[in-house]
Amino acid sequence: MKKLLLATASLALTAGGAFADEVKLGISLGFTGPLESMSPAMAQGAELAMKEVSDSGKFMSGSTVVGVRGDSTCVDSAAAAATVEKLITADGVKGIVGGMCSGETTASLQNVAMPKGVVMISPSATSPALSTLEDNGLFFRTSPSDARQGEVMTDEIMEHGIKSVALTYTNNDYGKGLADSFAAAFEAKGGKVTINAAHDDGKPDYSAEVAALASAGGEALVIAGYVDQGGSGILRGALDTGAFSTFVFPDGMVGGKLEADFGKEINGSFGQMPSSEGEGKDKFLAAAKAAGFDGTGVYSGEAYDAAALIMLAMAAANSTDPAVYKAKVMDVANAPGEKILPGELGKALELIAEGKDIDYQGASSVELIGAGESAGTFREIEIKNDKIETVKYR
């Protein structure tokens, strides 16, 4: 009898949740773990969008949206899946902003979110493997896949008139994914990758790697590594032996340390990193400042966009059921329609209510392509006068 009562009570509660004026969204990020310093600004970004929508009073006839934080740990797939499970079953969230890192995101998506049929929009998982993952139309991301970076890098190198490169990557998922996608893109455009060799981080000596790269030759050396790890060792060796004089740096190599340690030796080298700019970003930064947090944090704007997309899709479908609104995510994110920037979510909801199309731009110039991932804006840099300078955004 007691059990039956409990069951009825909990059923009544869940059923009540669906019709109440409060919609819950999960925020599954690595609040502990290797990226714990990035997570707070990301969660605050997502919560900023929820607050904006709630305050507008125009969401689903006056419903409010609240975020429920859960710790995905970034590295522990089991813990992340458990967190998402709890968010969905115990907290009853209707959509999830997250996960944070590629491996953990894949696990929680496949093991929990897909069986339960809940939409996940990740602000920061960039592995190319997520593009081809079977996701029942439930997974999107507001950050670009590393495969996209491979294409951008290809264009840049071609524009510099370079036709053959040697390629070395750090021996992990990031390095391998980026190197493979770059090599495929570069060769598809008629370039030649003379060698595609891994290097391990934290090794005492890189002469063997540099020797192999030098012998394979090429007009430039692409280093898909980390500037505070083996990437610097390779670069130092290649410079000292005079093996290469032009280098291409993907995001892991672009940092203050590159400028400080190598500045004057690598003038003329170039690279790129995911980054956005423009009115959307500025508005987001201002809104973040007003809300009392630092919007310049990595992927904070992308988290805002992820939360906004979920809510706008809900409004467009006029339903908080993930199975219904998942089809609307691409519609609200892409043209045609009126462009929506951060701080204009109220206006977007009005337009949707009037039955008009919107084209959500947000903080990171959202444009979802392929299976629902950001096309991404990249900041192209070049080392000029010993300094990293921004050439343009692409």
Binding site: I195, D205, A211, A212, A216, R236, T241, G242
Partner: protein, 335 residues
Amino acid sequence: MDILNAFVAILNYIIVPATAYGAQLALGALGVTLIYGILRFSNFAHGDTMAFGTGLTILVTWAMQSAGLSFGPLPTALLALPIGIALTAALVLATDKVVYSYYRKVRAAPIYITMVSVGVMFVMNGLTRVLIGVDEIKFADGARFLISAPDFKAMTGLTEPLAIRATTAITVITAALVVWALFWFLARTRTGKSMRAYADNEDLALLSGIDPNRVVAVTWVIAAALATIAGTLYGLDKSFKAFNYFQLLLPIFAAAIVGGLGNPLGAIAGGFVIAFSEVSVTYAWKKVAMYLIPGYEPEGLLQLLSTEYKFAVSFAILIIVLLFKPTGLFKGKSV
């Protein structure tokens, strides 16, 4: 001209870097082998002793630099080295007093002492990080190149560059001097002879009146000196990062074992064998082949093994040597 180009390519990418790396490994392996020969255990803390000694040397270097001291075209760290060695030796002697002396007294089996050294390694690991942090530190100053790549090309008109870093030359010269001094010490001085006697037969040495405490202390001081010199040279040539020294332990032990544990000459040979095999087996010979055989353009890179496997190379050599010559290339003690 093409033959010269091929020669320069081999020189630049194999001989010069492998010689420097080999000298660094040889100095490290000498320390390991000395401890093994005289104190009879594998000292796993050696890599972190190198890191600690280098950390101290860097701190002294910074103090000297801010006091305006410099060593002309040579790196200031060489001036700071003696102080770094003295401080490291003090720490190592203290460690011996606090930790190892007990196990010597109870005549513990070498494997116990080896495990104790793993504990010491972790403590040193932590000490180094407390002392100087985990970040990469570059502390080389003075001239960077003896011959720089563009200068060499302009000078000779060859298409292949050749670069010899000042730190590479310093490493090789210092290593040669240190090895000479060590051999002279072991062969000619009274203390050196008593150390060898102690290593050969401990009981007999004790009977003939050799003071064991003195031998142990001198061994530790020499090991500390070798570790600090090897660590500082390595740091000058590449850069200082505490974690890298921990990684260096593996090739150093491979070198010491290949050469024959306990045999100083073997340690040096082992260091160069490991360094040259790592670099040459994974070298892509395409360019050299194209210079040597006119009109020949190979499809592949002519690379025996890709560079991921370079550590496999050292270990393959290690296994082969242990299979066919268990005491190493130069008759050491069997492991």
